[in-house]
């Protein structure tokens, strides 16, 4: 019996049946839950266990659930505020680390990146302890001449300030890291050429440095948007009784059983996150030849 000769080249792993199988299994394990979540958001059944036919009524139901919509709007609001603030702070940090030399710079860079590696639960507890301290201190204003100060923070969107501040704290290092790596590719001669041609420091920043780092800034902004939008742990620790975000709300609803309207709302969130991530990746794609 003649042995069948393999038609596979040395690096053509794509033709190996085992490898193809492995890839398929991996994809199923990764995406089956999400696919099922999306599919069952269209399921015409209250219990959401057996498929009972197609419907979009749960999207309408989710839309009409005031507390769910409020949580959703809160999440988006926090994400937008967090993105704006974290992008400004993160970009400024990146510029500072790139532009200046100062003692213990390496240590500062390391400390700045800490929130990326610190477990979220620790951040959550730390922020909770800090806020309870601040809250205690702020209660002292209630009888004082600036009692309006505390009232100010019950007005939307300032009532979301506590959560936003916590989100900024963990997301701005991501912005800084992304912008910093973009700036590492900046040719200092661009800056010198700009000044040589008569531009001031500020004109040089505005016309030459900023356009160069813009892809990094946008990628960092989208990153912090997605991070803020789906954060649960830190938000759970910092959300007050009156303020709810979408992930925290979903968590409280799930404890009473998963109904299709949660699927529907989650699907919307997935789509928002996905779109933001795709844009971020395209922004980060390496530029064509430069200089």
């Amino acid at each position: 019996m003649a042995k069948r000769k393999s038609t596979r080249g040395p690096l053509e792993y794509g033709k190996s049946p085992w490898l193809i199988l492995f890839g398929i299994v991996t994809f199923i394990v990764l995406y089956a839950p999400i696919a099922q979540l999306i599919a069952f958001s269209f399921n015409d059944s209250k219990r959401n266990i057996v498929w009972r036919g197609f419907t979009t009524k749960y999207y309408a139901k989710a839309w009409n659930d005031a507390s769910l919509v409020e949580a959703f709007v809160n999440s988006i609001t926090i994400a937008v505020m967090c993105t704006v603030i974290a992008t400004i702070i993160g970009t400024a940090t990146a510029l500072w680390l790139w532009r200046f030399r100062f003692p213990a710079k390496a240590a500062v860079e390391g400390v700045m990146a800490l929130p990326i590696v610190i477990p979220e639960i620790c951040m959550g507890v730390a922020v909770l302890v800090l806020y309870s301290r601040v809250g205690h201190w702020m209660r002292g204003f209630e009888s004082g001449p600036i009692h309006w100060w505390n009232e100010l923070f019950s007005i939307w969107p300032l009532n979301l300030g506590a959560i936003t501040a916590a989100h900024v704290a963990f997301s701005f290092p991501f912005v800084a890291v992304v912008v910093r790596s973009r700036l590492a590719g900046f040719n200092r001669e661009y800056e010198e050429a700009s000044k040589d041609l008569g531009a001031s420091e500020w004109q040089t920043f505005w016309n030459v440095v900023l356009p160069f780092m813009m892809p990094g800034v946008i990628a960092g902004a989208l990153l912090s948007f997605t991070l803020s939008l789906d954060d649960f742990v830190i938000t759970f620790f910092t959300a007050g009784p009156e303020t709810n975000t979408f992930p925290v709300k979903v968590y409280s609803l799930v404890r009473r059983g998963v109904s299709p309207d949660i699927n529907a709302a989650s699907t919307v969130l997935i789509i928002i996150t996905l779109v933001a991530t795709i844009i971020a990746m395209r922004m980060q794609a390496p530029q064509k030849s430069e200089g």
């Binding site: 040719n187 050429a193 700009s194 000044k195 040589d196 008569g198 531009a199 004109q203 160069f212 530029q287």
Partner: protein, 360 residues
């Protein structure tokens, strides 16, 4: 007498542990094409950047058109620079790159447009004005950098190794192009280069730098024919350096005892004493099978060790007595045919007046 456009007076620049520019002084005249030539690390780029105002905290004075540049920032100096990497802004079109320097200094749009077009025409980039830099070749990007600097109408144009990134053919073309541009515009060009051919073919005057100091400033011909030091003689072109000891100075010249040559008399109008180097260019030497007819020629008998054939010329290396090695440039004409064989015994001879005496 015309006044210099640039005066460099006792300029020194120290980095921790190194003196990059060491007490340099010279003048550059209006409309001159001036070259700063030297090996890498000799301080030529630092000096150029000091003129541009991109390197600060040096000592000494840099005077451009009667104005001391002390404390004048780079963006207010009447000089412009073409960078080694060209530094053409990648996010702007060619036209925007050229217009940039006018825009940031508040030149009105109505005046800007014709000046930009004129500068683009000058470097023959009119048809590429709307392209982005990544759609241009290296040579075209360099033209953008040139136009961008020239549109500012600087009193002096500074060029930092402008041709080093181009291939040999294009480099030769751009050498001519730069020389032509300089003549058309009539402003002073200062070019930094490590390539002696580039400096010799383009510049009116050349400052040869070594270890932060200027060793000699002269026109190309004088620099080549009458170098003042071993360093300059060796750096500019090829040269035979023969160790010798001065034994006497008379009206007819300097008598010295040279390695492999014995006693020779060389015409010389300066001082000479002790250990010196006799320097003679390879193209001044003549090879012959018989001893030279003229008795006054300096000659050495030797054996051809190596022949490097370059088409029009051959570089021949002759080993003489006492370990003396001579490089000889031979035109590949009929006289050379049959002579240039390895191992053949020949006479290498030259006229005494082609010999330079370089003090150690």
């Amino acid at each position: 007498m015309t006044k210099p456009i640039i005066s460099i007076r006792n300029v020194t620049k120290r980095y921790p542990g190194v003196v990059a520019v060491d007490n340099v002084s010279f003048d550059i005249m209006p409309n001159e094409f001036f070259a700063l030539l030297g090996p890498s690390g000799c301080g030529k780029t630092t000096l150029l950047r000091m003129i541009a105002g991109l390197e600060t905290s040096g000592t000494g004075d840099i005077i451009v058109d009667d104005q001391n540049m002390e404390g004048v920032p780079a963006n207010q100096r009447p000089v412009n620079m073409v960078f080694q990497s060209y530094a053409v802004f990648p996010h702007m079109t060619v036209r925007d790159n050229v217009a940039y320097g006018l825009k940031v200094t508040g030149v009105a749009a109505a005046e800007r447009a014709p000046r930009v077009e004129e500068a683009l025409e000058m470097v023959q980039l009119g048809s590429m004005a709307d392209r982005k830099p990544d759609q241009l070749s290296g040579g075209q990007r360099q033209r953008v950098a040139l136009a961008r600097a020239l549109v500012k109408r600087p009193k002096v144009l500074l060029l930092d190794e402008p041709l080093s990134a181009l291939d040999a053919k294009l480099r030769e073309h751009m050498q001519l192009e730069l020389a032509r541009l300089q003549q058309v515009i009539g402003i002073t060009f200062i070019i930094v280069t490590h390539d002696q051919d580039e400096a010799l073919s383009m510049a009116d005057r050349i400052a040869v730098m070594e270890k932060g100091g200027v060793r000699q400033i002269a026109g190309p011909e004088e620099l080549y024919e009458k170098p003042h030091s071993r360093f300059v003689a060796d750096f500019i072109g090829k040269i035979n350096l023969i160790d010798a000891t001065v034994s006497g100075v008379s009206k007819s010249g300097v008598t010295c005892k040279a390695k492999g040559l014995g006693e020779v008399i060389v015409p010389h109008d300066g001082e000479a004493s002790g250990n010196v180097s006799l320097a003679v260019r390879p193209e001044k030497l003549v090879l012959s099978a018989e001893p030279p007819a003229s008795g006054s020629d300096i000659s050495a008998r030797g054996v051809i060790r190596d022949v490097a054939y370059y088409g029009d010329v051959s570089n021949v290396f002759v080993t003489c007595s006492d370990g003396l090695e001579l490089a000889v440039n031979v035109q590949n004409d009929r006289a050379a045919a049959g002579l240039l064989e390895n191992g053949r015994e020949v006479y290498a001879s030259w006229h005494p007046s082609d010999t330079l005496i370089l003090q150690e």
